[in-house]
Symmetry: C2
Subunit: 146 residues, 2 copies
């Protein structure tokens, strides 16, 4: 089950890459169904806030707290401070991460606030990000505020 959702997040990342964007994808699952999916839109929409996780949450639309509190967020890359803060805002209790070797986000903050964090170290996620960072370091730095 978990792997199917991560596969959908990876598909989103690939779609972003094919569009000329940053290859990070995300999916929100509620009671075993995908309610939102998306990918980083910095290049495509000129967006400073649509990281993959944010795009998935935005595409899930307005939800009440009880939905978020039974949802799982899947993301191909360790969530940055913005995306982690959003997970905390909405009380999403569980986050499954493709990999955290090319970028380590705010996993410690999430864990300290009681969020369950699982890291898969998925080779495909890692390979996609490593290539991208090597090929477009300036774009990547812009995305993480460096």
């Amino acid at each position: 089950m978990s792997n199917l959702f991560m596969q959908a997040a990876i598909e989103e990342a690939r779609r972003g890459l094919a569009e000329g964007g940053i290859p990070i994808g995300s999916v929100i699952a509620y009671r075993g169904e995908i309610i939102g999916r998306g990918h980083n839109q910095r290049v495509q929409k000129g967006s400073a806030i649509l990281h993959g996780e944010m795009d998935a949450l935005e595409n899930a639309g307005r939800q009440t707290a009880d939905v978020y509190r039974e949802s799982v967020l899947y993301t191909t890359l360790s969530p940055c401070a913005m995306c982690s803060g959003t997970i905390l805002l909405y009380g999403i209790p569980r986050v499954v991460i493709g990999e955290n070797q090319s970028f380590m986000g705010e996993e410690e903050l999430l864990i300290s606030r009681g969020v369950e964090v699982e890291v898969l170290q998925d080779p495909e996620c890692l390979d996609m990000m490593r290539r991208f960072i090597a090929e477009q370091p300036h774009l990547w730095n812009e995305d993480i505020g460096v």
Copy 2:
């Protein structure tokens, strides 16, 4: 100077209220000039992520780290975990807050990471939020994930 920027953030909040939305506004100032301004768009755009601060950052467009690191974010209300996380992502060094009595955001987290936080306890900001929360508690709760 600081008050002029907060006045612009308050104007944004009023604009949001006039549109039937949640009255929270924000402005990003870089070297004394407004580079982005916005207001909460939950109602207007059906958005789960466009809090006032996020809308202002999105409207500022793609910026490099050196711009954010010399910017000040003004917001009529204490920034939630999402908006605080975004401030941390981009390394915005200073945040000026209209009030934190109707809602206390992640000010301690910001301060613990070295962000300078100033709270004005502006009566107009407080009055706008108190009225709004009393009139539309369900919408307000949705916005803060409660």
